[in-house]
C-alpha cells in the first residue's frame, strides 16, 4: 500500500482530459480545441491496493511558457510533487509532441509516454513502430485511443511499475553535446544550486533565454555579460532538439502493407517481447520497399489533405465564411428556441401544470392549509421554480449544439476567420472562443480567458464576455417574448444574442480607442488549428449531462431558495403579516419601490420589476421566476407603461446587458483583479441603462409616427456612410506605412522603431 501522485502532461488538445476521465471515471469538460483545461484538476483513485492521486494539467508546448495556464503546468512539473508524469503525445504530430517529452527527460523526471489517437493513424492505414522510439528514449511507451476505448488498466500497470523500478533516466540525450552547456554551468552553477534547479537543466533554459529561470537565478551583471558573449543560442536549442526527434522518429510511422499484417500487428502489440517485435519491424521494412513508389503518390496526397480540406475550402471561403457562420448560429437558435425546444418546453409546462400544480393546490385547500402556505407552494415554488424547470429541454439543446461546434473543430475555424475583425479591436481570434463559450455560461467562459497570452487582451475579453447572452438569460427572453410576440419570438431571441455580441464588439473598439490601460495595440496571434474530428455521442452526452446537472442543481438550490425568500418578502409586511387581502405594503414593495423610479422611463418602473431584476443578480433565471410568482403569470402587471410590448423588449435588453450573476463577478475578480471587477460591475449597469434608454427612445419614435421613424433611420444610415467614407478618406491619405494605424499620427514613432531593425 502506497500513495502516489501521477500528473498528466502534454501539448494542448492531445486528449489529456479524455484520458483523465477514462482513468478516474470523471466527466471533466473536453473539446476539440486548444485550452479547454485551464486549471489543474485532481482525483484520487485506487489501483492495485495503491492510492493514486491523478492530476490533469493544462496543455503546454514547452517548459518555457507562453500563457498563464501553461505556467500552472510548468510549476507543477518543476516542484517535483509528482511521483510520475504521464506524458501524452498525439500520433499525428509526434515530432512536435516529443519536443516536450525531451524537455521532461532533460529535467530527469520519471516519465511514461502515451501515444494517443492511434485510431486516426489506423484509419490512414499506418502503423507506429513505437518500440523503436522506446529503445532510444528508454521510457515505457503505451499506444492508445483515449477518445474511444483504451486499456487504462495496462497504462496504470506500466505507470506504477515504472514508479517502483525507476532509477535515474538512462536516456542518452546526445544532442545536448552540441550545446555549450559546460560553459554555461561554470558561469551559473552556484546560482542554479541556490535556486534549487538541476544545473544542466538550468543551463539549457538559460540558453533558451527563459525569463522565468533567469529571474530565479538572479545572475549578477558579470554573469549576464559572460552569457551574452556566447551569442544567441535560442534557435540552436530548438534546432538540435528537433534534429534529434527527426532522427529517432524517422521511419517510425509506416504504411501497413496489408490489412492482415495490420491486424497481426494490432494483436501482438502488447504481448510480443522486444526482440521479436524488432524482427517484425524488419520484415515490415522489406515489404515497405515494395510499396515505396506507392508511397510517393500518397505523400503528395497527404500534403493536400493537411491543407485546406474540402470542408475548409467552403467554410473558410473569403465570401462564404461569415454568412455560413451566421447561418449556423441562426439555425442553432431557431432549432433551440423555435421548433424543437419550444415543443418540449410546452410539453413540460403542461405536465407541471396538470400533474403537479392543479392537484397539489386543490389538495392543500382541501386540507384547510393557511392561505399563505397555499400561496407559497403554489405561486412561490411551483410557478416560480417550475417556470424555470421547463427550460431544461432548451438548455439541453443549446449545449448539444455548442458541444458539436466544439468537438468537431469548427470553433477553431471561427477563431481563425474572425481574427481579422478581432485584430482591429485589439483582441484575437482566441477571444472568440471565450466569447462563444459565453453563450453557455458567463462564469465558466470567463475562466477560459486564462488561455489568452496577453494581459490586456485577457482583461478586455473578461470584461466583454458577460455581454454575450448566457443560457440563464434564455428563460427571460423566452417567457417575455412569448407573452408579447407569439410567432416572432425566436427571431426576437436571436436578435438579443446578436445585440449582446454587437455591444461587446463595439465596447472592445471603444476600449481600444479611449481607455489606455485596455489598449493592447498590435499583438501576435499563434494558434494551432485542430483537424476536423467526428464528435462521439459519448462525449456530446457527457457535455449535455454536465450542464443539465448544473442547471438542475441550480434550480433545486439557489433558485428554489431565492424564490421562497422573494415570495415571502413580497407577501409579508413588517407589521401586518401576510398581506394578500389586506391593505398593507409588503417588505419588498417598500424597498424595491425606492429604486423603481429609475426604470420609470422604460415603462416598468414598479416594485415587481425591480424585485425581479434585483433577485436576478444571484442567478439570471430568477428574474423570470420572480415575475411568475409575483404576478401569477400576468405580464401586464409588470409592463405598466403606455407601450407594454416596447417596455417588454426594453426589459429584455436590460436583462441581456446588466450584471449576469454574482458568480461571474467572482470569476472576473479571479481573472482580472478586484479593481476590474468593480469596473465591470459599473460598466454592465451603465451600458445596460444607456442602451435601454436609446432602444426605448428609438422604439418610441416608431410607435409615435412610423413615417418619422423610417425617415430618421434613412438619415442615420446615410449620415453614417458619409462619415465612414470621409474618415476613410482622411485616414487613407495619412496611412502609416509601418503599422496598421490609419490615422497617421504615429508615422514618426514607427519610423524610429523600425530603423534599428534595418
Amino acid at each position: 500500500m502506497a500513495e502516489y501522485t501521477v500528473s498528466l502532461v502534454g501539448n494542448p488538445n492531445v486528449g489529456k482530459t479524455s484520458l483523465y476521465n477514462r482513468i478516474t471515471h470523471s466527466l471533466e469538460h473536453v473539446g476539440n480545441w486548444h485550452g479547454v483545461t485551464v486549471t489543474e484538476v485532481s482525483k484520487k483513485i485506487m489501483f492495485d491496493h495503491n492510492t493514486v492521486n491523478m492530476v490533469d494539467l493544462p496543455g503546454l508546448y514547452s517548459l518555457s511558457v507562453y500563457s498563464l495556464e501553461e505556467g500552472i503546468s510548468r510549476d507543477r512539473i518543476l516542484d517535483k510533487s509528482s511521483d510520475l508524469i504521464i506524458n501524452i503525445c498525439e500520433v499525428n504530430n509526434l515530432a512536435r509532441n516529443l519536443y516536450l517529452t525531451l524537455q521532461l527527460l532533460e529535467l530527469d523526471v520519471p516519465t511514461v509516454l502515451v501515444v494517443n489517437m492511434m485510431d486516426e493513424l489506423k484509419k490512414q492505414g499506418k502503423v507506429l513502430n513505437y518500440r523503436k522510439i522506446e529503445k532510444v528514449l528508454k521510457i515505457p511507451i503505451v499506444p492508445m485511443s483515449a477518445k474511444y476505448h483504451s486499456d487504462v488498466h495496462l497504462l496504470m500497470q506500466v505507470a506504477l511499475d515504472h514508479i517502483q523500478t525507476h532509477g535515474a533516466n538512462t536516456v542518452n540525450l546526445e544532442y545536448l553535446e552540441k550545446l555549450p552547456l559546460d560553459d554555461v554551468i561554470s558561469i551559473i552553477g552556484a546560482n542554479a544550486a541556490n535556486a534549487g534547479f538541476v544545473p544542466r537543466w538550468a543551463a539549457i533554459k538559460v540558453l533558451e533565454n527563459d525569463s522565468f529561470v533567469l529571474e530565479k537565478l538572479a545572475l549578477n551583471e558579470l554573469q549576464t555579460k559572460a552569457l551574452k558573449a556566447m551569442g544567441d543560442m535560442q534557435a540552436r536549442v530548438a534546432q538540435v532538439r528537433y534534429e534529434f526527434i527527426d532522427k529517432i522518429t524517422e521511419g517510425a510511422i509506416s504504411r501497413s502493407v496489408s490489412d492482415e499484417h495490420h491486424e497481426m500487428h494490432e494483436h501482438t502489440e502488447h504481448n510480443v517481447p522486444i526482440e521479436q517485435e524488432g524482427e517484425l519491424a524488419e520484415t515490415h521494412d522489406k515489404k515497405d520497399k515494395h510499396a515505396r513508389h506507392h508511397n510517393k503518390h500518397k505523400k503528395s496526397e497527404r500534403l493536400k489533405m493537411l491543407g485546406f480540406s474540402r470542408i475548409d475550402k467552403i467554410v473558410l471561403n473569403k465570401y462564404l465564411a461569415l454568412p455560413i457562420f451566421l447561418l449556423v448560429m441562426a439555425l442553432i437558435f431557431v432549432l433551440t428556441f423555435g421548433l424543437v425546444g419550444k415543443f418540449f418546453t410546452w410539453l413540460l409546462e403542461l405536465g407541471i401544470d396538470k400533474l403537479i400544480y392543479a392537484p397539489l393546490t386543490k389538495w392543500l385547500v382541501k386540507i384547510d392549509c393557511p392561505a399563505w402556505i397555499v400561496g407559497l407552494v403554489g405561486d412561490g415554488i411551483i410557478q416560480g421554480v417550475g417556470g424555470i424547470l421547463v427550460f431544461l429541454p432548451q438548455i439541453v439543446l443549446l449545449f448539444f449544439f455548442l458541444a458539436l461546434l466544439e468537438d468537431s473543430g469548427y470553433i477553431s475555424r471561427v477563431a481563425f476567420m474572425t481574427d481579422g475583425i478581432f485584430r482591429k479591436i485589439g483582441l484575437s481570434g482566441r477571444s472568440a472562443f471565450t466569447m462563444l463559450m459565453g453563450f453557455g455560461c458567463s462564469a465558466t467562459a470567463v475562466l477560459t480567458a486564462r488561455g489568452l497570452e496577453d494581459d490586456t487582451m485577457r482583461k478586455k475579453t473578461v470584461l466583454l464576455t458577460p455581454f454575450m447572452s448566457c443560457s440563464a438569460r434564455l428563460p427571460v427572453y423566452s417567457t417575455v417574448a412569448a407573452a408579447f410576440f407569439a410567432a416572432g419570438s425566436p427571431f426576437i431571441i436571436f436578435g438579443m444574442y446578436v445585440l449582446g455580441a454587437a455591444v461587446a464588439l463595439l465596447l472592445a473598439a471603444l476600449f481600444e480607442k479611449c481607455i489606455k490601460p485596455l489598449k493592447s495595440g498590435k499583438l501576435s496571434f499563434i494558434m494551432e488549428m485542430p483537424p476536423y474530428r467526428f464528435p462521439t455521442a459519448e462525449r456530446v452526452f457527457q457535455i449535455i449531462w454536465n450542464n443539465a446537472k448544473v442547471f438542475l442543481i441550480r434550480v433545486g438550490t439557489v433558485i428554489f431558495a431565492l424564490n421562497v425568500i422573494v415570495w415571502l418578502l413580497s407577501n409579508f409586511s413588517f407589521t401586518a403579516g401576510y398581506t394578500v387581502g389586506k391593505d398593507a405594503r409588503s417588505i419588498l414593495e417598500i424597498v424595491s419601490g425606492w429604486i423603481a423610479p429609475v426604470f420609470k422611463p422604460f415603462g416598468f418602473g414598479n416594485w415587481k420589476a425591480v424585485t425581479s431584476l434585483l433577485s436576478g443578480l444571484v442567478a439570471k433565471e430568477v428574474v423570470i421566476s420572480s415575475i411568475e410568482s409575483l404576478t401569477s403569470g400576468d405580464m401586464y402587471a409588470i409592463f405598466t407603461g403606455a407601450h407594454p410590448s416596447l417596455s417588454a423588449l426594453t426589459f429584455m435588453v436590460f436583462t441581456l446587458l446588466y450584471v449576469p450573476c454574482v458568480a461571474t463577478l467572482v470569476a472576473i475578480r479571479k481573472e482580472a483583479g478586484i479593481k476590474w471587477m468593480f469596473f465591470s460591475l459599473g460598466l454592465q449597469i451603465g451600458v445596460a441603462y444607456v442602451v435601454s434608454l436609446v432602444f426605448y427612445g428609438i422604439g418610441l419614435l416608431y410607435y409615435l409616427n412610423k413615417g418619422v421613424f423610417i425617415g430618421s433611420v434613412i438619415v442615420a444610415v446615410v449620415a453614417t456612410i458619409c462619415v465612414a467614407v470621409l474618415v476613410g478618406r482622411i485616414r487613407g491619405k495619412n496611412k502609416c506605412p509601418y503599422c496598421s494605424s490609419g490615422c497617421g499620427s504615429c508615422i514618426k514613432k514607427c519610423e524610429k522603431k523600425s530603423e534599428p531593425k534595418k
Partner: protein
Amino acid sequence: MTLLDAQVNTKYKVCGVSGEGNARRRLLDMGFTPECSLYIAGVAPMGGTVLVGLRGFLVALREDAASLIEIKAAS
C-alpha cells in the same frame, strides 16, 4: 524573404526566425527550425492571418508573426 512573401500551397524551407521575446520562442518551440519544410495552406477570409502547415499540423499565424519567419524555396 519571409513567410509573408510565400505563395499559397507551395513548399518552402525555413531559414530562421528573427525577432525576440515570446512570439519567437513559441515559433521555435512549435518547430519552425532551420531546414524544416512548410507551406501556406490558406489565408483568412478577412486577411491578416495565414494558415501554415508544417511537421504534420496546421497553425494560424498573424502577419506579424509570419513576418518573423525567414524562408527559402524548397530545392
